[in-house]
C-alpha cells in the first residue's frame, strides 16, 4: 500500500526522529534520555520509513548492515571500558575530561558517553535486524 500522506509525513518525521534520538543520547547523562531509549527512537524512525517505503529503501537509507551496527556498537561499548586500563584503573572506570567553551558552562566529557554511544548503536542494530528481517518475510 502506498500512501502519499504517510510518505510526505515520513519525510519530515524521519529526520526529526533521528535528530531527537541524538538529542536524547547526548542529554542522557543529566536529563531523561540515554543510549537505550535513543537507540529505540532512531530505530523507530527507520521502522516508520520501512512502513512508508519498503525494506530495500530503508537498507539504502541506513547505508550499513544492522549486523555491522551491532558489532561496532558492542566493540565501542567494550572498548570504552578498556581505556581506563591504560591509566592503570580497573576495567570500565569512568574517565573524564573537562571542556571549557566560551559562553557555555563547563562541559564534562567522559568514557560513559562513549559507552552509551555503543549501547545506542547496538540497540539500533538489534531492533532493525529483527524488524527488517520480519518485514522481508
Amino acid at each position: 500500500m502506498i500512501s502519499l500522506i504517510l510518505r510526505t509525513a515520513t519525510h519530515f518525521l524521519f529526520t526529526i526522529m533521528l535528530q531527537f534520538s541524538l538529542f536524547l543520547l547526548l542529554r542522557g547523562h543529566n536529563e531523561p534520555g540515554g543510549g537505550f531509549v535513543a537507540g529505540l527512537m532512531a530505530a523507530g524512525g527507520f521502522a516508520l520509513y520501512t512502513i512508508a517505503y519498503d525494506v530495500a529503501a530503508t537498507r539504502q537509507a541506513l547505508r550499513v548492515d544492522p549486523r555491522t551496527l551491532i558489532a561496532v556498537g558492542l566493540a565501542i561499548a567494550a572498548g570504552s571500558g578498556l581505556l581506563s586500563l591504560m591509566k592503570g584503573s580497573p576495567f570500565m572506570t569512568g574517565e573524564w575530561g573537562h571542556l571549557r567553551l566560551p559562553y557555555l558552562e563547563r562541559l564534562n566529557i567522559g568514557t560513559p558517553l562513549l559507552f552509551d554511544t555503543g549501547v545506542y548503536l547496538t540497540v539500533i542494530g538489534v531492533t532493525l535486524m529483527i524488524i527488517l528481517s520480519l518485514a522481508e518475510e
Binding site: 571500558g81 569512568g94 524488524i131
Partner: protein
C-alpha cells in the same frame, strides 16, 4: 620484553592473521613464522640463565579480591617446552602455508594455530594453577577448532567434538583438583606450593586430589582408557597433527605430572596409578599401532604409546626415570614431529596415506626420504641418533630400579620393539621397500617449505645424537632439575663401551626388525584384536553421547513440543507453583496491608488498564487484541510518569510502539483468529492467568514494602554527581556504576537478535 608479552603476542598475532592473509597470499607461512622464530630466539637468550639455575617469576594482579594473580614462571621445565613450542611452531607454520596453500580458509587456520601456540606457551609458562588452567582449556578449545578445521566433513566434526568432550571433561576434573590443592596449600602459586608438598600429601583429601588432577592429565595426554580421541583427531590437517597431537599439546598432561611431581608425587597412590595407567597405555596403543595402515593413524597410536611410556617413567618417580622421561620426551618431539610432517608431504604429493599403496618414493622424493629415514632411525633407537641415547638411558634407568627393575625393563623392551616396527612401517616402507609394482609417476619432491620441517627436526636428532651434551647440559639438565628440585647434571654420550645395555638395545632392534618383517603374517591375528577393540572405551563414549542425545530429545518432546501456549503454560505453572510454595511455606507475607492514599487519577489509569486487559481477552479481532494490549502498556507507562520515572516511561512507550509494529509485520503470516475454545479450557487458562497475576502483584508489593536493608538509592543519589558527573541517576547507573551489567545485557540482546535472524532466514531458505 617480559614473559607475559611472549604469551599475549601470540593472541594479538593470531587475531591479525586472517586480515594479513586477505592481502598476502604468497609465502604467508614464512610471514606467520616470524613470530615463533622471534619467540624461539627470545627463549634461547634465557638458556644460560636457566642453566645456571635461575628461575624467573613475574606476577600481575588479576582478581585481587580472590587472591588470583596472572603469574608466569620460567624454569628449566618451562623453558624446554617453550623452546619446543616456538621452534616446532615456526616449522609447522611454514609448512602449513604451503600444505594448505589452496585452502580458502588458510587465514583462519593461521588464527587457530597461533592461538593454540599462545595458549600452549601459557600452559607451560603459567606460574600458578589457575593461570595454568585457563590456558589449558584454551588449548582444548583451539584443538577443537583445528581438528574440525574441515568442518564440512562429518567425521572431522565428530572427531573434534570427541576430543573436546574428552579433554574438556578431564579439564573439569582438573579444575576441581587444582582448587582443592589451592585450598589446602593456601596458595595457587607454584613458587609457594612447592614448599607445601608434605602438607598436601598428608591431607585426607590427598587421594581425591591426585585422582582428579590425573584425570585431567590422562585425558589430555591420551592415556588408556581415554586414548581413543587421539587417533580420531587425525582428521585434522597434518600440520596440526604434527604440532598439537604429537609434539606439544598431548604432552601438556606429561608437563602437568612433571610439574606437580614435587608437590603430589612420591606416594604409593601416585606411584601405582600413574605407572600402571602409563604402562597399560604404552602396550595397548603400541600394539594397536601395528595393525593400522594409515600413516597418520600409525603415528597417532605410537604417539600414545610413547606418552604412556613417559607417564610410566614419571610414575616410577626415581631420579633416573625422571631424567629419562625428560630426555625421551625431547627425542620423541624431534622424531615424531618430523615423521608426521613427512606423512603430510607424502600425502600432499601422492594423495595417499595408506602404507599398502605406497612404495619406492625415495627416487621421486630423495630429500624427504632422507629426513624420514633419519627420523625413523631415531625412533628405532639406532646410533648415532638422539633416539638411541633416549633408548639407552631408558634401559639404564629401568635396570637401576630396585625390585621391579627386570619387569619394567621387559615392558620397556616390548614397547621399544613395537616402536622399531612402527618406524619401519612409516619411515622405511613408503620410501624404500614398499610393495613391488607400486609406482607414483605423479609424485615429485615436495617444495622447500614442506621439506624444511622434516629436515630440520630429523637433522636436530642427528646433531644432538652426535653432540648429546649440547642438549644435555643446556636444556635437559635444567628441566630435570626443575622436576627433582635439585641440580641434576646429565652426562649423555653416544658410546659407553660394550655393556649389557648395548646388548639389550641391539636385541630390541633385531626383534623389532623381525616383527616388522613378520607383520604381514601377523595381521590375521590382529583382525581378532580389532574385534576386541570394537568393544573398547570408544564404544562407551558413543553410548554415553547417544544416551544423552536421547534424553535431551525425550525431554524436548515433552516440554517443548512446538506449541507456544504450552510453553507459556509450563513457565507460568512452574513460576506460580515454586514461588507460591516458597511464599506460603516460609511465611513470606510480611507487612501486607492496604495502602490508604489512592488518588483519583491513579484509580482512573488502573481502571483503563483493567478494562483494556479484559477487552484483549474478549475481542474477536486480532488487531483489536493487539491494540488493547498496547493500551495496557501505555497505561503502565503513565503510572511510571506519575511515580517520577520518566526514563522508564519513555522506554516503555517506545517498546509498546515496537510491539504493535512487530505484530503488524507478522500479522499477514498468522492464521485467522480461531473461534474460542470450549469453556473448560478457557476456565483453566483464566484461573492460571489469575494465579500469575496474583503472584506478581504479591511479589511486587512485598518487594516494595518489606525492607531488610537500607535502600541503595541514597548512595546513588549522593554520589552520582561527584563521582560520575551526571544528574540522571538512572543513566549514571546504566553507563557508569553498573556499566558492566549493561555490557552483558546488550551482548545478550545482540545474541538474541542473531537468533531471531537465523530463525527467520532459515525458514526462508527452507521455503525455497
Amino acid at each position: 620484553m617480559s614473559i607475559i608479552l611472549t604469551v599475549l603476542s601470540g593472541f594479538i598475532f593470531a587475531s591479525a592473521a586472517p586480515f594479513v592473509h586477505r592481502f598476502i597470499k604468497e609465502g604467508i607461512g614464512w610471514i606467520m613464522a616470524l613470530l615463533p622464530i622471534s619467540l624461539l630466539i627470545y627463549f634461547l637468550t634465557y638458556v644460560p640463565m636457566v642453566a645456571a639455575g635461575e628461575v624467573t617469576i613475574v606476577s600481575y594482579p588479576w582478581i585481587p579480591r580472590l587472591g588470583v594473580t596472572l603469574s608466569f614462571y620460567l624454569d628449566g621445565l618451562s623453558l624446554l617446552f617453550s623452546l619446543l613450542i616456538s621452534g616446532i611452531g615456526a616449522l609447522v607454520l611454514i609448512y602449513a602455508g604451503s600444505y594448505l596453500k589452496e585452502h580458502p580458509q588458510l587465514g583462519r587456520f593461521n588464527l587457530f594455530i597461533l592461538m593454540f601456540m599462545a595458549s600452549m606457551l601459557g600452559v607451560v609458562l603459567a606460574g600458578n594453577l589457575l593461570t595454568l588452567f585457563v590456558f589449558w582449556e584454551l588449548t582444548s578449545l583451539s584443538s577443537y577448532l583445528l581438528i574440525g578445521f574441515d568442518h564440512e566433513r562429518e567425521t572431522a566434526r565428530s572427531a573434534a567434538l570427541q576430543a573436546l568432550l574428552v579433554t574438556g571433561g578431564g579439564g573439569l576434573a582438573l579444575l576441581a583438583g587444582l582448587v582443592m590443592i589451592g585450598q589446602i596449600g593456601g596458595s595457587f602459586e607454584f613458587s609457594l606450593l612447592l614448599q607445601q608438598g608434605d602438607r598436601l600429601r598428608g591431607d585426607p583429601l590427598y587421594v581425591p586430589i591426585v585422582l582428579l588432577v590425573l584425570l585431567g592429565a590422562f585425558t589430555k595426554s591420551a592415556q588408556v582408557p581415554f586414548h581413543f580421541w587421539l587417533p580420531s583427531a587425525m582428521e585434522a590437517p597434518t600440520p596440526v597433527s604434527a604440532y598439537l597431537h604429537s609434539a606439544t599439546m598431548v604432552k601438556a598432561g606429561i608437563y602437568l605430572m612433571a610439574r606437580l611431581t614435587p608437590i603430589l608425587g612420591g606416594t604409593d597412590t601416585w606411584f601405582y596409578t600413574v605407572s600402571i595407567i602409563g604402562g597399560a597405555t604404552m602396550l595397548v596403543t603400541g600394539i594397536s599401532a601395528l595393525y593400522q595402515n594409515d600413516m597418520k593413524r600409525i603415528l597417532a597410536y605410537s604417539t600414545a604409546s610413547v606418552l604412556g611410556m613417559l607417564t610410566l617413567l614419571l610414575g616410577l618417580g626415581a631420579t633416573a626415570t625422571i631424567e629419562t622421561a625428560i630426555i625421551y620426551l625431547f627425542a620423541h618431539a624431534l622424531y615424531k614431529g618430523a615423521l608426521f610432517l613427512v606423512a603430510g608431504a607424502v600425502d600432499h604429493e601422492t594423495g595417499r596415506r595408506d602404507i599398502r599403496a605406497l612404495g619406492g618414493l625415495r627416487r621421486a622424493m630423495p630429500i624427504t626420504a632422507a629426513a624420514a629415514g633419519l627420523a625413523a632411525l631415531s625412533m628405532a633407537g639406532i646410533p648415532p641418533l638422539f633416539g638411541y641415547i633416549g633408548k639407552e638411558v631408558l634401559y639404564e634407568a629401568a635396570q637401576k630400579l630396585s625390585g621391579i627393575g627386570s619387569y619394567v625393563t621387559g615392558l620397556l623392551m616390548l614397547a621399544s620393539l613395537l616402536l622399531v616396527a612402527v618406524a619401519g612401517m612409516v619411515g622405511l616402507r613408503p620410501f624404500v621397500i614398499g610393495k613391488k609394482g607400486v609406482t607414483h609417476p605423479e609424485a615429485h619432491e615436495a617444495p622447500i617449505s614442506l621439506r624444511l620441517g622434516p629436515v630440520v627436526l630429523a637433522g636436530s636428532g642427528l646433531l644432538f645424537g652426535l653432540f648429546p651434551s649440547l642438549a644435555g647440559y643446556w636444556i635437559l639438565s635444567p628441566a630435570v632439575a626443575a622436576v627433582l628440585r635439585q641440580p641434576a647434571p646429565l652426562h649423555l654420550s653416544l658410546w659407553h663401551g660394550w655393556n649389557e645395555i648395548v646388548l639389550l638395545s641391539l636385541a630390541t632392534t633385531a626383534a623389532g626388525a623381525g616383527l616388522y618383517a613378520a607383520r604381514e603374517r601377523l595381521l590375521p591375528a590382529a583382525e581378532a584384536l580389532k574385534g576386541i577393540a570394537r568393544w573398547g572405551p570408544a564404544r562407551g563414549y558413543s553410548a554415553t553421547l547417544n544416551g544423552m542425545m536421547r534424553l535431551a530429545q525425550a525431554q524436548t518432546r515433552l516440554l517443548q513440543n512446538g506449541r507456544l501456549r504450552i510453553y507459556l503454560m509450563i513457565v507460568a505453572t512452574s513460576a506460580v507453583g515454586l514461588a507460591g510454595y516458597t511464599l506460603l511455606h516460609r511465611d513470606g507475607f510480611i507487612g501486607l496491608g492496604i495502602e490508604s492514599e489512592l488518588r483519583f487519577y491513579e484509580v482512573a489509569i488502573g481502571g483503563v488498564i483493567l478494562a483494556a486487559a479484559f477487552l484483549a481477552t474478549q475481542t474477536r479481532s486480532r488487531l483489536g487484541a493487539v491494540t488493547a494490549l498496547g493500551v495496557v502498556g501505555y497505561g503502565v507507562a503513565l503510572i511510571y510518569i506519575l511515580y517520577g520515572a520518566p526514563d522508564l516511561a519513555m522506554t516503555q512507550f517506545l517498546i509498546e510502539t515496537f510491539m504493535v509494529i512487530l505484530f503488524i509485520l507478522v500479522f499477514y503470516h498468522l492464521p485467522g483468529l480461531t473461534p474460542f475454545s470450549e469453556w473448560k479450557r478457557r476456565l483453566r487458562d483464566g484461573l492460571l492467568s489469575l494465579a500469575v497475576g496474583t503472584l506478581m502483584f504479591t511479589l511486587a508489593y512485598l518487594a516494595s514494602h518489606a525492607r531488610f536493608h537500607p535502600p541503595i538509592s541514597r548512595f546513588f543519589a549522593e554520589t552520582s554527581v561527584p563521582m560520575a558527573h551526571g544528574r540522571n541517576i538512572v543513566n549514571v547507573i546504566l553507563v557508569d556504576f553498573r556499566a558492566f551489567d549493561t555490557l552483558g545485557e546488550i551482548t545478550v540482546l545482540s545474541v538474541a537478535a542473531f537468533g531471531v535472524y537465523a530463525l527467520l532466514k532459515l525458514r526462508l531458505e527452507g521455503k525455497r
